[in-house]
Subunit: 355 residues, 2 copies
């Protein structure tokens, strides 16, 4: 099932073209990130990620059990905390939602190979779904990525190219694009569509929380979740969008800088390797939606992250440091928050970072 | 919610006593494994493991998203394969189902500490749920257990005692019992009850398959699954029990020996560390149910396991070697099997064994 009337659309210059004509990882005219325009329908049916197939521009062909992750309620004083266990996705992170859509699209467009730059989790996810769909995967990642993550990419049959930094990876990957499908998850709107299903699941299982705490690297997760709730509000299913709380580390804090014009001083935060994205392509959207829904931005450092990860393990949530940032952020601001229900999105598995 | 009329019952000597009176990890009179007698009710309601609360002797108080694992259909020629992804449970293995019941029981019985002997996965599971329920955990495990598994137990706050072999662990753990709750998962009937929910989920999501392939260490998983389908048949919900296919490694093959009187020669199988159980306490039950449902037993070796694990990764299933035994077994006997639908239970996560 594919929706024929689905178009790449550039909100900056107005470029528009059928997604079934050609793939663009960004606007060929002005370089802006592209949206996809198509008819979204909310008719939940079936299980897990396929449950929201009517919402996608096309239906995935093969699945591996992504989505439908647990939502665990645990009270903390005046706050009802709801942990969304995205680390229980098949490859161990929320990325599987967007990757499934992205690789399905590559397959439908007859690509035979895939390339991607990533700090780790997306590489594992892309390697996994590429294999499932019979495509070759080449993953460009910084050498400081956890060795467990690199090993997984290899076992999944992916080829790895290491670079000194995450930024270098984004540049070097372009040399490998040619006839391959460049996933470009930090640009790719399919990852935003995929992440919106997290909101749908929270809504269907629980309702609408007051706050939702989200780690922000490229911001696809943040935008996907906010878009998901906003969509439900627009179609009249719910009457408010949760207040989003964006979390970044002190080391790389483009969102804070964009809003306040200066960098906030603080401890290193390189433990959160998943959110070290210096230039999120959709930074303007992030600022727009953060302001629109009166969101907050919270910065954390390595000692906050280390303590938060330890506490989460002790609560039975085996997450990686990047995921722990949301609990670190909650801990920092909980005294300011009124009695409320708060979703913490736990994005990636701690099992991949044991080495 | 607890069922007051729940009793330890020894099918060998007839010993019977309320489970709310005292905990016995085996029959205090004759040393046999104990069953629990109580009224089982099948009234699915809610999500995941709590969905079958009416079937348990008591309802778990805290959960971490266990159960409700994906069932992925993938055809292989004449066979419809259904992969049950038990490795996506919160601690990365099917053990979480039984452990949740077991630790809930320890909590209800006012224990403050827990001890267990294990080859690995149960240790992680016990450490996790002990922490969730506020109990101290001491885990006795063989030194050859994967270092990733040991590290996880420690991060989860468990104390580790290492022994030369799995058999030594079973002996040495008894020195630590005293006032602690001895989980004794290879004896504990709560693990069998927990594993039955795998059958309920398969039935509710798909129906009844023709075959189900199960790795057999202590046999709790095997018995739980067979009991689950048998129970559904007894209450008239289904009309057949799938043919069970038990998988063991050549190195430790008590079930084969018990049935055929001799050991079958073959390659070492120590890669499958999760099924190296030399003396399963319920071996007679295993033989009985294997014969009752005309099951098969298949033995595999390290090279079968290595190849199967590789193939499973390439299919997008990131499992540990013990889990790969079921695919290895299927590969060995698939030519003998008629066109049919076959469930492969993938028990544990490959993410824990990356080191």
């Amino acid at each position: 099932m594919i929706k024929k009337n689905a178009y790449w659309f550039c909100p900056k210059c107005g470029f528009k073209e059928s997604i079934w004509n050609k793939y663009y990882w960004r606007c060929p005219r002005c370089g802006n990130p592209l949206d996809i325009e198509y008819e979204k329908i909310f008719e939940p049916r079936g299980n897990r990620f396929l449950r929201y197939s009517s919402y996608y521009p096309f239906k995935p062909i093969k699945t591996r059990g992504e989505g439908g992750t647990p939502l665990i309620i645990d009270n903390d004083g005046r706050h009802k905390l709801l942990y969304k266990l995205e680390y229980l996705n098949p490859s161990g992170s929320f990325k599987d939602r967007g990757t499934l859509l992205s690789i399905t699209y590559a397959y439908l467009m007859n690509y035979k190979s895939v390339v991607e730059d990533t700090s780790g989790n997306t590489g594992i996810s892309v390697a996994l779904y590429s294999r499932v769909y019979g495509l070759e995967a080449t993953i460009v990642m910084p050498s400081y990525a956890p060795s467990g993550k690199k090993k997984l990419v290899k076992i999944l049959g992916g080829k790895i190219i290491e670079t000194p930094t995450r930024t270098d990876a984004s540049k070097i990957v372009l040399q490998y694009v040619k006839n391959s499908y460049y996933v470009a998850h930090i640009w790719n709107y399919l990852y935003i569509i995929g992440a919106s299903t997290i909101s749908f699941e929270i809504f269907e299982e629980y309702g609408v929380p007051d706050y939702i705490v989200i780690p922000v690297g490229s911001g696809g997760l943040f935008l996907g979740i906010v878009h998901g709730f906003e969509y439900l509000k627009n179609i009249g299913v719910i009457n408010k969008v949760p207040v989003p709380i964006a979390v970044q580390g002190y080391s790389v804090q483009p969102l804070y800088e964009k809003i306040y014009g200066v960098k906030k001083p603080g401890e290193e935060s390189d433990l959160a390797d998943g959110i070290l994205v210096a230039s999120p392509p959709r930074i303007n959207d992030l600022v727009y939606y953060l302001k629109k829904y009166r969101g907050k931005i919270v910065l954390v450092g390595n000692s906050d992250i280390r303590e938060a990860q330890k506490e989460l393990f002790q609560k039975g949530f085996m997450v990686e440091p990047t995921s722990a940032t949301v609990y670190a952020a909650y801990t920092k601001i909980k005294e300011e928050l009124p009695p409320s229900d708060i979703v913490l999105v736990l994005t990636g598995s701690g099992l991949k970072t044991l080495n």
